[in-house]
């Protein structure tokens, strides 16, 4: 129980803050993950998160070349995520459009490639590992605040439009026939997914965000008959994965992101294998 002893050590305020960020981000992982799983857009979320590297690289390049000191590379992540979500949803759906999986693959790869090109063009050495794999121990109090604000926005939006979103995810065509603004809500849902991805990159990184958006919700789906219950359980499973991951990585001196993901994976595969 080294981890829990360390948590209560007054010198380890950063550890408590990291744990709080992890617990609050579980709410986002649980709710958005539920939609990602039930609407079957996990690869879309994957493309959005990977294309974020393009935005990070772009911001880094601008910052260095034009000496814009305040420009944190992560600021480039949000426009990149929103643009790629928009491109996929706008051009990858409906009759006469491109194939959605092709759009996903293209956005995924081109986004990452652009990111690496920008990093190469930027003078000096720059390590992108922290963006690719994240580190929950490096989060700031601003990250904590942003995650809480995001949680509130998601809870209010999903609470207000619970039935609308359920209808759109379950049967888009029927929702359209009953007069719902299907495209608007689908775009909003994707936009919210994109924002979540950007904030959650701090915790598990670009490469593994998709795992936290899918594994806890997929585990929850095994025990849920309604979306609401699935959201609650997914939040719980994701919190358990984060606590386990953080404590094991702390004791074994491993990187936190991968251990969190493996914990979430074990929670998913164990019951799925025996069910």
């Amino acid at each position: 129980m080294d981890f829990f002893t360390a948590l209560s050590n007054p010198e380890n305020a950063f550890l408590r803050q990291s744990l709080l960020v992890g617990l609050f981000s579980s709410i986002t992982f649980g709710i958005i993950g539920t939609y990602v799983i039930s609407r079957r857009i996990s690869y879309l979320a994957g493309a959005v998160s990977h294309s974020v590297l393009g935005g990070i690289g772009g911001a880094l390049w601008l910052k260095t070349i034009f000496r814009i000191e305040w420009l944190d590379p992560l600021y480039g992540a949000l426009p990149a995520a929103l643009i790629s979500a928009f491109i996929i949803s706008r051009f990858g759906r409906g009759p006469g459009k491109q194939r959605e999986d092709t759009m996903i693959g293209a956005t995924w790869a081109i986004g990452m490639a652009l990111g690496i090109i920008f990093v190469d063009m930027t003078p000096g050495y720059f390590d992108i590992t922290s963006y690719l794999f994240g580190d929950i121990l490096l989060v700031s109090s601003r990250d904590l605040l942003l995650i809480i604000v995001l949680d509130l926005i998601i809870i209010l939006f999903v609470g207000r439009f619970y039935y609308t979103l359920m209808a759109i995810c379950f049967d888009e065509e029927f929702a359209r026939l009953r007069g719902l603004k299907v495209d608007l809500f689908y775009q909003l849902l994707l936009g919210l997914t994109a924002v979540s991805v950007v904030l959650l990159i701090r915790i598990v990184g670009i490469v593994m965000v998709i795992a936290m958006l899918t594994l806890p919700a997929a585990t929850a789906a095994l025990y849920s008959k309604t979306l609401f219950r699935m959201m609650l359980l997914a939040t719980l499973f994701s919190a358990i994965a984060i606590i386990c991951g953080m404590s094991i990585s702390y004791c074994a001196n491993l990187a936190s992101g991968p251990v969190i993901i493996v914990s979430a994976g074990i929670i998913y595969f164990l019951p799925a294998a025996f069910k």
């Binding site: 039930s38 079957r40 009759p95 006469g96 609470g159 207000r160 439009f161 619970y162 039935y163 609308t164 359920m166 209808a167 995810c169 379950f170 049967d171 065509e173 029927f174 929702a175 359209r176 026939l177 009953r178 007069g179 719902l180 789906a221 849920s224 008959k225 309604t226 979306l227 219950r229 699935m230």
Partner: protein, 270 residues
């Protein structure tokens, strides 16, 4: 009795996906109280015709009116049942929540509340009873059989209290026993509303419907009693065995012929 205006009126309709014409010079009228079926081979344009009637697709030529208005403005009066196989079988949703979707247009308009009005749950209970699924409201949609799911989707269509019921392949993926149930349910519902269904299953169709609309690029209408081997051969281009079900018919209404476009048989009503 003076003839009421038709519920669906299609005039010289033309539709194509890119350059492939799917429907050509389609003329069709569906009267109030009819129970009619669209039949035809796969790729013949059945579902396209249904989607045009729903306003999900726009005709490339000709006119199409539903309840005397543009299709998308008539949607409130239409109940639509898609094939259950199109839906995600693993989606976590209760039967009640599926049925309530029929009332989505009444779903909370308030700033903070997006719930259905209280009355909606009562109607949902009534329509579930109507399709023989009373007591299943709390069940999960994904634990039902194919036939039960199809009936839930009929209940959902009924939940909006439609005047016109459109059903896409109601007998696809269901067992013979459910088919018999469905047959009784539709006959009962037809006393209250006009029903138009799409089916590739002529055996089912010929038992219950009053007229058959054959779609294979063009539209040809037959009364069910006229269906015989030749007509089937004409529609599907092959030989089929057919068990014929006779209806007691008398002749009313339309009987215009146009050999170049649409061959319209005598409309027969029970």
């Amino acid at each position: 009795m003076s003839p009421a205006p038709p519920i669906i009126k299609i005039d010289k309709l033309y539709f194509a996906y890119q350059d492939n014409p799917v429907l050509e010079n389609v003329n069709l009228e569906i009267e109030k109280g009819e129970l009619a079926s669209i039949v035809g081979p796969n790729g013949g344009g059945k579902t396209t015709l249904l989607k045009l009637i729903l306003g999900l697709l726009k005709p490339a030529g000709g006119t199409l009116e539903v309840f005397g208005r543009a299709p998308e403005k008539a949607r409130r009066k239409i109940g639509y049942m898609p094939q259950h196989a199109q839906l995600d079988p693993q989606f976590p949703i209760s039967v009640l929540d599926v049925v309530l979707m029929g009332r989505l247009d009444q779903c909370g308009k308030g700033l903070f509340s997006g719930n259905y009005p209280r009355s909606a749950a009562n109607i949902a209970g009534e329509v579930l009873a109507e399709v023989g699924l009373e007591g299943s409201a709390r069940k999960s949609f994904n634990e039902l059989s194919g036939g039960q799911r199809q009936r839930v989707l009929i209940a959902r269509a009924l939940c909006s209290e439609p005047e016109l019921l459109l059903l896409d392949e109601p007998t696809a993926n269901i067992d013979p026993c459910s088919e018999e149930n469905l047959y009784q349910t539709l006959t009962k519902l037809n006393r209250k509303m006009t029903i138009l269904l799409v089916s590739h299953d002529l055996g089912f169709v010929s038992q219950i419907v009053k007229s058959v609309i054959c779609v294979n690029r063009q539209v040809v209408i037959h009364p069910t009693s006229e269906i015989n081997g030749n007509i089937i051969k004409e529609i599907y281009g092959g030989n089929f065995n057919l068990i014929r079900h006779d209806h007691r018919c008398d002749q009313t209404g339309h009987s215009h012929y146009d050999h170049f476009s649409v061959n319209r048989g005598n409309r027969l009503m029970d």
